[in-house]
Subunit: 481 residues, 3 copies
């Protein structure tokens, strides 16, 4: 009997192979290498993500390996939790104030001794890249190397070159967009004025808190929206005027885009008096689930109209069943790895918005999905027809080598390359951003190389497309001059 | 910074590599080459398509490059439109008579200068093949070569060898089926009698216009059906009798098959009195959407029954959300690239028809889908059981290298090869027919070659299957002796 | 014209290539070979299947090739039936007693002369392996070799080394689980006590017959459940107590797991008094389809609770539309190849059960699906979060090379390897079990080899994972010490 051992031998070497993620076929690999050489050093443009603007505003060094790398990364602790490791033992703060593990070294050891669970996952690729390229570590993470990792990372984090703005430079990040709610005062972005980074760290307008009447704080948010803008947000016209003002305020802090995270892709185009009445129903808190859904749908169409006015690119991120695990939500709050994708329908749901605005060539609406069945069936045909639509990259659970390949394989033949918008990292794991963009660049080059090897594209064309997928399309779609 | 350039260098050479669409792995490629040599010169059998019978009936030469290659091809202008190029500027006729671009050379230049948009799409493969193989062009299409293309193509189109019937010969097309509505007088097919082409250009009976009560012209069509047949088409028995007469009339013009383009795969099997009452409701124009849907479903079952009587092969093409873009439909009419696939369910929807006729080994029902999720989940299991069912090839948006590969990968293990029916080009782009069949042949050989390389099939068997997929199965399924 | 011939030449040689199912790329193939060498001789653990316990209890030799290899294998006769071969001519017994073909040699000849239909299917791989490895046959099956096959197989079947228990030893089957209904007396398992095989042939508790109130025999089954257990099964508490007793009885006969074959993944968590009232409605036989569906859903949650008490692993197999072909069901009964997969939803449907028990790290719930669209969208995200959930392997129509590859490609990045449970053969075709496990081992090695070749995993890690996928995870998930 062969003996089982899920843990790697002590001191196995950590290397990042220069050809990683390229296929082994020598013809395709050689083409992929040439394409990758052509675009690998292009600046990073990160138009959609969740890094904390405080980092860049204050430029204070990060604290320690555990609170930087593990605690904000729900990809990491959801996997550990799935194998029976409690979130308390990982130091995830409880809402009820019950004390959780505080010993960051101990938490890091738990993570290290379960690192084999990440085999075959994108987290493994991103983390290995961070360990190797950012911190210069050369042994694979395991129980045996946990302390060495923890000490080495912490020792480096205090250095000036690990301050957030220094890392922006080191990572060659030309622009990074954070995401803030409609009521945010953007104080951290304000601090950047005059720093030389104000064009590089920009915000994104995400109004879910003031359009989603299912939220417990919806009424309070509408009240606050009124205070911030001086508009009567209890009237439909005042509410819309207030949103226009907040959009303008965000644009003053660099925003070129809005973002909308909705449970479904439902849109609506009600007559103004019906929309006004629906808004009033939602304000009472007595609206049905169907009414709040309809209201969110109406607001997507309103927002598209405002984008046509003010030129902001509009991102729609539908299809997450948020906080599926009520026990976890009650105990730890949102964003704890318990959001689960749902089947998502676009063709009927987007129709009202598209009837009104889909033919506007001046409008940029970027669609994302967690339901890959819609790539070839719905999204590519829609984006391959409507001038207002473009397709965002493989998102969230699909931001992975296989996920990106499925996206290109299923989207390209109907939508082409030029109805897509380049890569989004969509992350709060700041240090992983170069690795995430590098995975996207490698996979795009790999896909293009297979087209060249099969004589479906010339290598010269593939070079141009690789450049556009890496740099040209994202700057255009997000209007980053 | 690398400079972006989405346009190829001037005068880049257009070549069609002999190994195009084969994978670069030398083992698989060599097998694919041998299989392809075995079947590449087989005659083209095109049992389902939308070429204009007038071309073959009149045998008049085509007019110019733009009206032949661009104006009828919604794959081409939907992509251009998606990038903000107006349909008016592409010369697409408006319903309201507003004048659109008339300068065909100018339109061809717009197309040429945006040809890079088609990178990675099947249109690119088909068009390059037409340019190179049909017209002998040797530079890639671009703004620089637009005029040369336009002049060269037009100069050739007037020659006798470019007359439609001559092209049928040149393309080695053994049989081609057009598609006509139930009320069509088939005059163009009639002209072929005695020409030697009457067995080669045949029609297909498509009765959507007289079974779809959602159409504005439904009542008028029923009246016309009565006139044509001398039946009382306002009574249920008379209506059915009239349909039988029209089927016979189509068979006299070569038809061996019917075709049914329905929004869903719903079928019904109502008692005769209920079916008759439902028909009466539909005639009034006051029927609900659910009633017209049910009526279409009932008529699929009626048509299956008539196929059992008269032996016609029955094709079902469900799942297109037609004319999704109301603005475009109002301004330009149908078939303008704004049909979008929808999720399609077969297992429950087909059950009434299958309960009645699914066990008839003498019946040929061919299913198509725009929803690839049904390949492995629903269609292959259904076709791998019911004697009456076969699977049509990858359709429409999926008539592409990746689409065909997904079809074979997802269907073969459960349905085998012998419950499929070979390739359909389904096109109105006549000149692209050889290229479309060639893509299918190459992809089938590629798929078979991978099975051989992985020792899942012997090369001898693969040769036989390649022959059947190219020639044997289509002739059997469509009863083309 | 090339002549068609769907039948292989006489006497083409049957070989099983040592590299079958590995890709031809030399880099990947070499790694796959090394991984496969590492795990190919591990014992077979078969935790879920449908072999007949009588075989092992009585240990009587099998009768003949046709009744052993064809009659129980609905994969085989569904394909033959789909091509117009009647089930009567294949010797499938009719419910109405009408005499069907009795000449087993004649039936075998029909099968042999249509063996080409199985090209590209997993049945072909399994059957060729049985022919070659179990019976030593060296020519491909065809009309020409039918009699030789039939005689040779029959001559071997009578030998002592072909007795069922001898085959368990020859096949290196460490454990095999059969599946029995809740009312089964497990007499064949009882006969194994003292034979040395009682730990190797175990049962599985499948209570569908006493929880599915849509069954015609539901009321009778509840009565019998009462008789067997001495509980008042017409009361809700008595019914639950009776189920607990039957679970204990099954555990005495080796069961470590339960299995639940439901039309959908619906679960419910009703208050006890509502559950009791629903049970009473179901007992009357007047319950609606929605009520019986809800009751099955409630019972899944009840069963999960009992699993938490008694430690049995719980398997959920949803999504088959059983007996889709009413004609076949009426004439021949269930399991005749007419079960068709349906779209299946997990995220909302499983929520009630998961709310109650999903966070229990001590619970083992294994999910299967026939709807591959749920792999990446629903199942991997659920299993990558909930401690109680693991994913069963590619199932039924997807138990195939392509199906297994899709499973690994779509599941691994989000759920990892360690939220999966190894292979299930799920078969009643006993002789094919080694071939089925061999296919899974080859495909897993192939998948892992591609990760190694692309530098996403080290070869040392891949060796460990290959071991776990073949042997470690199944023993853990099914608690087979």
């Amino acid at each position: 009997m062969i003996s089982a051992n899920s843990r790697p031998s002590a001191n196995s070497t950590l290397t990042l192979h220069p050809d990683r993620l390229f296929p082994s076929d020598p013809t395709v690999r050689a083409i992929a290498q040439r394409l990758y050489q052509h675009i690998k050093d292009l600046p990073i443009v990160s138009p959609h993500g969740h890094t904390d603007p405080r980092w860049f505003g204050d430029n204070t060094n990060f604290d320690n390996a555990t609170s930087l790398l593990l605690l904000p990364d729900h990809y990491v602790f959801r996997m550990l939790y799935s194998q029976g490791i409690s979130l308390e033992s990982l130091g995830i703060r409880r809402r009820d104030g019950v004390v959780v593990e505080q010993d960051y070294r101990k938490i890091f050891r738990i993570f290290a001794s379960h690192y084999y669970l990440f085999r075959g996952t994108p987290s493994r690729i991103w983390l290995d890249s961070v360990f190797h390229d950012v911190f210069g570590l050369t042994d694979t993470l395991s129980a045996d190397t946990a302390d060495h990792y923890y000490d080495s990372i912490n020792a480096q984090l205090v250095k000036p070159e690990f301050a957030p703005r220094a890392l922006l430079d080191r990572f060659n990040i030309e622009v990074i967009a954070t995401t803030e709610g409609a009521l945010n005062d953007l104080r951290h972005h304000a601090k950047l004025k005059g720093s030389g980074y104000e064009q590089r760290v920009i915000t994104t307008f995400r109004p879910d808190d003031v359009v989603d009447a299912d939220r417990a704080d919806f009424a309070a948010n509408i009240a606050k929206l009124g205070e911030l803008t001086g508009e009567d947000t209890y009237s439909w016209p005042g509410y819309l005027a207030a949103l226009r003002k907040r959009r303008a305020f965000f644009r003053e802090h660099g925003a070129t885009a809005t973002d909308h995270g909705h449970p479904t892709a439902i849109t609506a185009d009600l007559p103004a008096n019906e929309a006004a009445a629906l808004f009033q129903r939602c304000l009472t808190g007595e609206s049905s689930l169907a009414e709040t859904e309809l209201f969110r749908g109406q607001m997507l169409t309103e927002m598209a109209g405002m984008s046509l006015e003010d030129g902001m690119t509009m991102q729609i991120h539908p299809g997450a069943h948020r906080n599926h695990n009520a026990v976890i939500f009650e105990r730890f709050g949102p964003d704890k790895g318990a959001d689960i994708p749902s089947p998502t329908e676009f063709v009927s749901n987007l129709k009202p918005l598209l009837q009104k605005y889909g033919n506007e060539a001046g409008l940029n609406i970027i669609l994302f999905t967690l339901d890959e069945t819609t790539y070839a069936r719905e999204l590519a045909p829609l984006a391959g027809h409507y001038p207002a639509l473009k397709l965002g990259p493989a998102w969230w659970f699909h931001d992975s080598p296989e996920g990106m390949l499925r996206f290109r394989h299923q989207v390209t033949e109907t939508a082409g390359f030029y109805n897509t918008v380049g890569f989004n990292d969509d992350t709060r794991a700041f240090l992983s951003i170069p690795a995430r963009h590098d995975v996207a660049r490698r996979i795009d080059c790999r896909f293009l190389a297979s087209l060249v090897a099969e004589h479906r594209l010339t290598e010269e064309e593939a070079m141009q497309v690789a450049y556009d997928l890496t740099y040209g399309l994202v700057k255009k779609a997000y209007q980053l001059a």
